[in-house]
Amino acid sequence: MILHSERGPLAGRRTSSAVAATASASERKLALWNIGFAYTAFLIGTLCGLIQVFMRNEMIELPAWLDYYQVLTVHGVTLALVYTTFFIYAFLITGMSRSLGSFGPKVARWSWIGFFVAAAGTVWATIEILSGRASVLYTFYAPLKASGWFYVSLALLIIGTWIISFALIAHYVKWRKANPGVLSPLFAFMTISTLAMWIIACLGVVAAVVFMYIPWAFGWVDTINVELSRTLFWFFGHPLVYFWLLPAYMAWYLVVPKLLGTKVFSDSLARLSFLLFILFSIPVGLHHQLTEPGVADFWKFLQVTLTFMVVIPTLMTAFSLFATFEISGRQKGAKGLFGWVGKLPWNDIRFTSLFISMVFFIPGGAGGIINTSFQLNELVHNTLWVVGHFHITVGTPVAMTFMGISFWLIPYLTGRTLTKTTKNLAFVQIISWSVGMLFMSTAQHVLGLLGAPRRTQHSNYSDHPTVLGWFDGFFSNTSTLALGGIILFFSAMLLMVIVFRLWLIEPRSEKGDLYAEFPIAESDASATPRWLENWWIWIGIAVALILLAYTFPITHMIQDAPPGSKGFINW
């Protein structure tokens, strides 16, 4: 790869270090395009979020050409799908280039093609939604029927991510061939785990979109098997949340120890926990369908059990992280049981942002256990509780980790630095996001327990007394939800300013500048068993578990199906 000479200090540093130490110019550009796309979606999505909290409080009215559910759909799609997905690929592309070396011409070309296909699918889907042809929310449950092109655009988005994924896998395979018998660097291993899970998970939604929704929406067939389409969606829908979470875990496992000046706690356990996520993130989708007919209790409960297994790699991760904190604190001379807390680098925004993300994941994970607890799910299913859960899992642990990554990844890619002013802004941004989310998600959890529905425009339900309880008290109050939302919007706009500064305004980085580095901790793989990187074993077990959990329910849905449903356009 040719290095751009105009980035003087960076180019000098790069030539003096090993090939693998920095991402090359081509990958930097691709990663920046992904980040630019992600933050454009972030801007649109957070604006839609602000409109929603105002509408829930009847503080604004929308113009006639736009309704609440379109705003809601755009909010969900841009933030949960687009911001996350494109940011994740930016992170993975940069990290793979840094840890395995520059991309060859084929890998580079296909990564670009994948990006453009995914971007085209996204833009097209957004046009379909805003023009009123696809007010089906981002779960697009049949038999609500969007235009056929909406489903085609969704397929393009998925295909685009597959193309980038296979390009990254090809880059990895080439490295393995060049380094026989050697375990791959941890970043690459975790990337491949995440992509393997993503590719398997997408099979469900691709099957539903290609074989069910598209023929039905274009009128080639008259009806659709509703229960089967839901089940295939949730085959994909649950691992989708792990696809967001695992890159955040990568930062927690690999970036955090580097910032603390220590190593990865245990290389083999880090690898094992990612493998367990491949196994236990997919055969569990039925826990999103616990309150519906058409699936026998036995199969619901079996998948509840498999869902609970995810607790094991989660506990392993929590242990590793806190062990890392304590070890680094003691190395710096901490005394007593909790002395190490004071030795953590609290004034390093790269660390503090990730630490707060982890703290939010504690109630987030506990809430997840409640949601999946079979009959307990009835109390919370489709209520605002679930929205609250979502915002303290993907909305903070994942999103704030991505913000924390942005604070160094954008400077790393643009060759700029993070000045003191921007760093202070970043602290205000992270703290305001935390405070806003605390208000909003707590109110959402409480309102959900009081029965307030999710994904529903404000309604007083003929002034029923139950509704009065949603405006009474501090946390049991829709106004508190709005207060949190307003603080979050302020924080989101501040983040846009920070991203803009890091991209275009900040001064060029000097040699040895911390913020212009991609921090990856060392991981000692000398004691790690080789079979942890034998993908055939792990993908084989994953497939076996999927067959165990899904063969019978899906066969039943196909063979014993009721007459199908024709489409409805209720907007």
Binding site: F308, S373, F374, N382, P453, R455, T456
Partner: protein, 157 residues
Amino acid sequence: MHLHKFEKIWLIFGIAMLAVFLGIVGVQAFTQGQTPAGGMKKIDPEKVDVTAPFDDPGVHQIDDDTYEVVIKAMAYGYEPSEIKVPAGKEIIFKVTSKDVIHSFTIPNTKVNMMVVPGQINEKRYTFNEPGTFLILCNEYCGTGHHFMHTEIEVVEE
């Protein structure tokens, strides 16, 4: 693979807790009948109005202690719109949809059922106290989704 001693304790404790949680949930579900709404009965979504029991929606007494409530959901309401049941008796709700997916949800109770076209969803529930409860749809079903609600009146026997 080396495991730190504390990590072993942590994982054993965690996995034991997992087994306890699952055990409680499983025992309650399969020995005390506390399963979420469900059922394996199906129906032609085009012929709901002429298929039993939905050809005669409403409240039916089955025996001294059991009542059946048959409900049809559609955008954006429920049929029948007036439902009156006694407190202290077991109510079996049976719901299906004439069009898209809805829910039949009574806040502050355990009745929270997905209503899926082509399927019949069932839930047994006993109201201990009389009162007027709100019923609402919490699954997006179109632009009028937030208007979809009704009430159930629970009366003293």
